[in-house]
């Protein structure tokens, strides 16, 4: 099991492994899987745009959508994944109660993702986003089987 921390990304080709990331709040977890190359990748980014802290983006590109997503996809290509075959699943983007705008990172994280994927012609196959819950996202390298765990309940995504 490869644990992907907040502001981190990992790709994997080991057929016995799974990638997992815990405690997605307003952050977004993006799981990708190529069923032919049997390559999986997982990103846990926390903010939409790297322009607020370019030096942080250099040190940890996975902190932001606009630097983390290219890193996720490129790393998967290096392991033999092919863009057209990648299955993309998304979770997170939660909000606090009565969010007034100052704390709407979850919504903006999700919009940033949609925009970047759309520009690159990548479709989202499944998603579980929004609400006020915390989620754990897991993807199996061999099968691409993806699950969401929240409040002790696991559901396939």
């Amino acid at each position: 099991m490869v644990v992907v921390d907040i502001a981190d990304v990992a790709v994997c080709k080991d057929p016995d492994a799974a990638l997992i990331t815990y405690s997605l709040g307003s952050c977004i977890g993006v799981a990708i899987h190529d069923p032919v190359a049997k390559v999986a990748g997982l990103l846990h980014y926390m903010l939409p745009e790297s322009s607020i802290a370019p030096e942080k983006a250099k040190a940890s590109p996975a902190m932001f959508a606009d630097t983390g997503l290219p890193k996720l996809f490129r790393s998967a290509y290096e392991l033999g994944a092919v863009k057209g075959r990648l299955v993309v699943k998304v979770a997170g983007g939660s909000q606090l109660l009565d969010d007034n705008g100052t704390f709407n990172i979850g919504k903006r994280n999700y919009l940033a993702l949609r925009k970047i994927l759309w520009k690159n012609g990548v479709m989202i196959k499944a998603e579980d986003v929004g609400g006020a819950i915390s989620r754990t996202l897991r993807v199996d390298v061999a099968t691409g089987h993806t699950t969401i765990r929240s409040r002790n309940q696991e559901t396939p995504l």
């Binding site: 502001a7 405690s23 709040g25 040190a59 940890s60 909000q95 606090l96 929240s150």
Partner: protein, 287 residues
């Protein structure tokens, strides 16, 4: 509805370790800006475990010192009182905050990770808002959720009812605790802080961290802990089953002129710093 009284619950706190003696003295001293280095060293000089912690900490890669530090005075002079003592306070409270809190769906280590995150976020906010304090931000951040340690088993017993009210009535988790149990984790934490004789400013920050507008007068420390907590909850730093079911108070943001980009900047600082602080803490004894 529970028939427990708050006093009854606090009496049953026997299972909770007392605040370590050295930690208790330190919290008082570092929270008081008029404390001197001599007073602080005097308070902790005879605690060997503490001294060992400080030296191990100072000689860790985190501080990147070129020569080895072998006395307490030396350590504190070299690195500054605040930095060293805060990390040591964190070490000393770790065993209390690291146990799993199953009522809240917090695995081992999660509450401590959240507490350290809030302590770091509170300091980042303190710098932004130019709050002058002598370590109270860090300490209050670290202890703000200590009530969860006490309330855990009661929340576990009533979890279904609390969760139902959160879902049905759009209550925050703390509001639902209060409705179902008669009191919430901030109030229990504040009462615990009073029995430990923590400084009143820190008790206030614990008590009002989810409801800063109910504090009698606007209080910068309370506000900073409220915002720091909201940022860490939002980012899922040590999050549990209560998830994001809390409110962030727009009035508090407005009265300090805090914006969306401040929230983002603080969040990114917290993530970068928490990783290195936790690496240091996990290399230390006591766990």
């Amino acid at each position: 509805m529970s028939t427990q009284t708050l006093e009854g619950i606090l009496e049953r706190v026997g299972s909770l370790p007392p605040l370590p003696d050295t930690l208790y003295r330190l919290v008082g001293l570092v929270s008081d800006p008029s404390s001197t280095l001599e007073q602080i060293v005097a308070a902790v000089r005879y605690d060997q475990a503490f001294t060992a912690d400080v030296l191990r900490l100072c000689n860790s890669a985190y501080f990147g010192l070129t020569r080895s530090v072998d006395s307490l005075d030396d350590a504190i002079k070299l690195l500054g009182t605040t930095k060293v003592l805060q990390l040591v306070i964190a070490t000393q409270s770790r065993s209390m905050l690291s146990r799993p809190q199953t009522g809240y769906g917090l695995p081992a280590g999660a509450l401590f990770a959240h507490s350290v995150g809030v302590a770091i976020a509170a300091q980042a906010l303190g710098r932004r808002l130019r709050i002058s304090e002598g370590g109270a931000l860090f300490t209050a951040g670290l202890l703000h959720d200590v009530g969860k340690v006490v309330l855990n088993e009661f929340v576990a017993n009533e979890y279904i009812e609390i969760a139902a009210r959160v879902a049905r009535e759009k209550l925050s988790f703390a509001e639902a605790e209060e409705q179902v149990l008669g009191f919430s984790h901030p109030e229990v934490g504040a009462r615990l802080g009073e029995t430990w004789n923590l400084p009143p400013a820190i008790v206030r920050a614990i008590r009002y961290h989810h409801a800063p507008l109910t504090c009698a007068a606007p209080d910068a420390l309370v506000d900073a802990i409220h915002v720091a907590d909201a940022v860490c909850i939002l980012l899922g730093i040590g999050g549990g089953d209560d998830g994001l079911h809390y409110r962030a108070c727009p009035e508090v943001m407005a009265r300090h002129g805090l914006t969306e980009s401040d929230v983002e900047m603080i969040g990114s600082e917290v993530i970068s710093e928490t990783k290195s602080v936790r690496a240091v803490l996990s290399s230390m004894q006591g766990n």
